[in-house]
Symmetry: C2
Subunit: 202 residues, 2 copies
């Protein structure tokens, strides 16, 4: 039995979603057709719209539908002189939810990975250097992921900062708040010991 | 920080996929925008096409883009006098893959569930009765799921068959092939014992 052309096309297109194999794709397609055609139609329009209209901010490279994003237009954030470098737009979202940072961002959209052909220009470090050269940034906070590639990227940007005499800091590694000590891996625990702080007693 | 309108719309629309919560929806939206815009666009078109064009076969109710599906048009299958009743189009696909059945299907698109307001007419049993009345069906194979609702539905259809003097059979329950006996639940094992067959030695 052959499935109809549009159904086959839908099942194979669903494979582009992360973690969806042939069996899940079929299950999703059948679910939408059987129980949620309205939702499926809406998702179709939303995908077409988002893929066509969502671009990147010309300053920080995050997702944005205007030339410059809301955060980059905010004069308070520009005046702060702080720039946080992250790997992806979801990191911006996570940091914004903490409400702890009031500077601007720069989104690399990846990390240095020479073996995959991703060099400094592929992650926008040329644009970042132009921003450094303007001289209105006092501190760069390196918030790339704590992976080998993330650390390498952070190190590379730190060297770039040194060239322009900008102070560069790396976010702290340590034991996550609310976690249990015996479930934390050795490397993190070692970082937690090395980064220990004196307990201040008032 | 507010996400752009189309991105927000995409994230909320993705929630219609089964098993996708707010965090996964965001992860999928960002993944598509960062790494697979082409796939996302294609999926958008595929969804719109499938939701608009895939309908139901007028005879067996499975998914189909023509008025009558390929299987229902096949004269060999019509002449077989066999009708297999299943709950969903994916069951048709699963049975077709075994290549063991050469009759027609009838897809209920659900099962009897009076508490949810799903009675005989909601699962097309009125249409099924019309087919029974024509008199060209010799045997009905009840392949609804082995759940309480599936069994109830099978029982209801078996009674309908009796009314039209059509033989009705239920697919066998037992130990799955390739499984391990100690991992099989008690009810299945009880079915396997009750349904035991004499070993034929040639």
């Amino acid at each position: 039995m052959k499935l109809s052309a549009n159904l086959t096309q839908l099942i194979s297109s669903l494979r582009c979603l992360p973690g969806i194999g042939p069996k899940s794709a079929q299950r999703i397609a059948f679910h939408l057709l059987e129980r949620d055609r309205e939702g499926g139609t809406q998702l179709g329009h939303a995908l077409t719209n988002a893929m066509n209209k969502v671009g990147h901010c010309q300053t920080c490279r995050t997702f944005c539908e205007e030339p410059i994003c809301e955060l980059c237009q905010n004069p308070k954030r520009i005046d702060s002189g702080l720039l946080c470098v992250v790997e992806s737009p979801s990191d911006v979202l996570a940091i914004e939810q903490t409400a702890q940072f009031a500077g601007r961002y720069f989104v690399l959209m990846g990390h240095l990975s020479p073996l995959d052909g991703i060099g400094p220009n592929e992650i926008g470090l040329d644009e970042l250097e132009l921003q450094f050269a303007k001289g209105d940034i006092q501190e760069v906070i390196l918030a790339t992921n704590p992976t080998v590639e993330g650390e390498t990227t952070a190190h590379y940007i730190a060297e770039l900062c040194q060239k322009y005499q900008i102070s560069a800091s790396r976010i702290a590694h340590g034991v996550p708040v609310g976690g249990e000590l015996d479930l934390v891996d050795g490397k993190t625990l070692a970082h937690a010991f090395n980064g220990r702080k004196v307990v201040a007693i008032d």
